[in-house]
C-alpha cells in the first residue's frame, strides 16, 4: 500500500505540538490501509534530534532535511522538496493548518496541480476519495467535502487530532532539498517570539480571556494574574478589546482571530458576541464571569458566575493558587 506523509512543523529549534498531531493522523490512516508513515523534519542542523519523538508517535521513517538555510522558514525550498517527494507516490500527506501551514500547503498542492482539503477537523478515507469536514461561515456551519485527488493533501486544524504515542522504528533517512535553498526568492529574515515569551493560544491547555467588562486596559493585569496562577495558561481577548488597543491583535479570539479549543476557557467580562463564540465554543470546559446574567456567554458556559469581574478575579486567583499548591 502507498505510504502516508506527515510534515512536522518546527520553529526556533523547537518541535511544535502540531508536528506530533500530523504524525498521529498519518499513523491512524496507515494502520487502516497498511502503508508506512514517513514524517518530514526540516530545519537547521540539529533538527534531526526530534526524530525519536516522531518515531514514538508512529513514524516508520523520518526524512530529515538539515541545512543552515532552513534556520528560518524557507517556503520555496520546502514547497519544491515536498512536491518532488510526494510525486514519488503517496496516498496522502498531512500538514498543520497553522500560520506556516496556510502559507505552505496550498503551494505544494498547486505545484502538483491538486486540490487540497484545508483546516480539516474530521477525515475518513475510502478507496478513491477522502471525505473531510471543515468549519466555515465563521464556524457557524460545518462543511463536508469529498476530495478526489491523490495524494490527498490535508491540513489539520490544531487539536483535531491529539498526539498519541504508538512507537515505530522511525528509521532516519536524509532528505535532499530539491532546489538550492539559498536561491529562494522569498526570504524570512527574522523569526522572533512575541514579547513576554507567552504560551501560545493554540497550544495552551488553559486560556483566560478578557473583554470590555474589565473596563480599562490596566485591569488586564487581573487576567494575567489568574493565568499566572494556573501556570499553563495563555491570555486572550475579544475583538472589541484588541480594536481599542488594550491588547495586541494576535491575542484576539473569534471569527477573525484565533480559533481555540483548550481544556479550560475562562471568559472574564465577555458578553459572548456570536463572533467571539465562533472562536472558542469548542473548548472542553467553559467558565464565564459576567455581571449581566442575560449575557449570551452563559448559554455556552458550563459554569457561570454572575458578578463584577474586577471583584471576582482576585478571589479566583487566590483560590486557584491554593488548589495548585495543594495538588
Amino acid at each position: 500500500m502507498p505510504n502516508i506523509l506527515a510534515f512536522s512543523e518546527t520553529r526556533l529549534g523547537e518541535l511544535r505540538r502540531a508536528g506530533l498531531e500530523t504524525v498521529t493522523a498519518a499513523r491512524r490512516v496507515a494502520d487502516a490501509t497498511g502503508g508506512q508513515v514517513h514524517a518530514v523534519l526540516v530545519g537547521a542542523p540539529g533538527v534531526g534530534q526530534f526524530a525519536a519523538r516522531l518515531a514514538a508517535h508512529g513514524a516508520d521513517v523520518v526524512l530529515v532535511l538539515e541545512h543552515d538555510a532552513f534556520a528560518n522558514y524557507n517556503p520555496e525550498a520546502i514547497v519544491a522538496t515536498l512536491a518532488q517527494r510526494l510525486g514519488s507516490g503517496y496516498r496522502a500527506a498531512f500538514f498543520a493548518a497553522s500560520a506556516q501551514g496556510h502559507d505552505l500547503v496550498a503551494r505544494v498542492a498547486a505545484k502538483m496541480k491538486l486540490a487540497y482539503a484545508s483546516d480539516v477537523t474530521e477525515f475518513a478515507f475510502s478507496a478513491d476519495s477522502v471525505t473531510v469536514q471543515h468549519p466555515g461561515y465563521t464556524n457557524k456551519i460545518v462543511q463536508t467535502f469529498v476530495l478526489k485527488a491523490t495524494p490527498a493533501i490535508i491540513s489539520l486544524r490544531a487539536g483535531a487530532v491529539l498526539p498519541v504515542e504508538n512507537a515505530k522504528a522511525g528509521t532516519v533517512e536524509a532528505l535532499a532539498s530539491a532546489i538550492d535553498p539559498a536561491s529562494s526568492r522569498v526570504k524570512v529574515t527574522l523569526t522572533e517570539k512575541a514579547a513576554g515569551g507567552k504560551i501560545d493560544l493554540g497550544e495552551a491547555p488553559v486560556i483566560i480571556a478578557g473583554g470590555r467588562g474589565l473596563k480599562e486596559a490596566a485591569n488586564f493585569a487581573l487576567v494575567e494574574n489568574l493565568a499566572a496562577a494556573f501556570g499553563n495558561a495563555a491570555v486572550g481577548a475579544t475583538r472589541a478589546v484588541t480594536d481599542d488597543g488594550w491588547r495586541p491583535h494576535s491575542d484576539q479570539i473569534g471569527q477573525t482571530g484565533r480559533l481555540v479549543s483548550p481544556d479550560l476557557y475562562v471568559a472574564c467580562g465577555i458578553s459572548g458576541a456570536i463572533q467571539h463564540l465562533a472562536g472558542m465554543r469548542t473548548s472542553k470546559t467553559i467558565v464565564a464571569i459576567n455581571k449581566d446574567k442575560e449575557a449570551p456567554i452563559f448559554k455556552v458556559a458550563d459554569y457561570g458566575i454572575v458578578g463584577d469581574v474586577l471583584d471576582i478575579l482576585p478571589v479566583l486567583t487566590e483560590e486557584v493558587k491554593k488548589a495548585k499548591a495543594g495538588a
Binding site: N72, S98, A99, H102, D103, A106, R107, A109, A110, A115, Y116, A117, S118, T131, P135, G136, Y137, T138, N139, K140, I141, V142, Q143, T144, F145, V146, K148, A149, R185, V186, V188, T191, E192, K193, A194, I199, L201, G202, H249, S250, Q255, T256, D263, L264, I286, V287, K299, V300, D302, Y303, G304, I305, V306, G307, D308, I312, L316, E319, K324, A327
Partner: protein, 250 residues
Amino acid sequence: MKLAVCIKRVPDMEGRFKVGPSGTAIDETGLKFDMSDFDGYAAEVAIQITEKLGAGEVTVISLGPDVVQETLRKALSMGAHRAVHLKQDAPVSDGLAIATAIAAELKDGGYDLVLLGRMAVDTQNRSTGAFVAELLGVPFISAISQLNVEGGVVKARRELEGSYELIECPLPAVVTIDEGIARARYPSLKGIMAAKKKPMESKPAQLGAITYQLEKLELPAERAAGRIIGEGRDAVPELVRLLKEEAKVL
C-alpha cells in the same frame, strides 16, 4: 505600479445561518452581502499604495454570478480604478479550480503586486492566494500584518502562533492580507459617483478541473446548556471545587 486585488462577495457574518433546501448552500433569504472583511483590507492597502505614489492602477477582480458586480462597484467607489468580473453562475467549491480562472486573468496583465484577503470569511479555506501565486510562478507571502513596497522589493511581517516573522521578496509577487494592517474605508459620495463611470469588464471564468466537491452543509452540534453556579465572589469556592472534581481541569 499595477496592482490587482481579488475580492469575494460573502454574506454578512453577523447573522444566523440556515442551510437551504439543496443541502449544499446556505439559505440566502434576508442575508446581506458584502466584500469579505480581509479582501476589504487588501483593497484598502492597494488603494493606499497608489495614493502614496500618486501613480499606479488598482484592478479589482471577482468571480461569481452577476451580483458580484455590486461588490466590485463598491471597491471602485473606495478608489480602485477598474474592475474585472469573471462570470460563473453555479457555485464552485474547488479552490484550485477558482484560482486557475483568476491566474488565467492575471497572467498577462503585467501586475507588479496581487493582493487578496488571507481568507474568505465564508469558506475559510485560506488557499486561493497561495494557489494563484504558484500558478503564476511568482513569490508569495501570506497573512501579512505589515507591508512596505519599495524599490521593487516587498517587506512584510507575518504573525505566527506566539511569534512573528519578517519576510522579503522581489516583485512581482502575490500577498494575502491579515487584520491590523488597514481598515477598509467607507466609500465617499464622491467616490460612489466616480465609480459609476469606471470600467467594468465581464467575461466567462475559465475554471480548472473540479476534484474537491462540497457534499453538504450542516449546523454544528449545540453545546449542552450550562448553569450559573452563583453570584459574586462567594461563588468562587464552588467554582474551584467543580473545576477540580467535576471538570478535572485544575
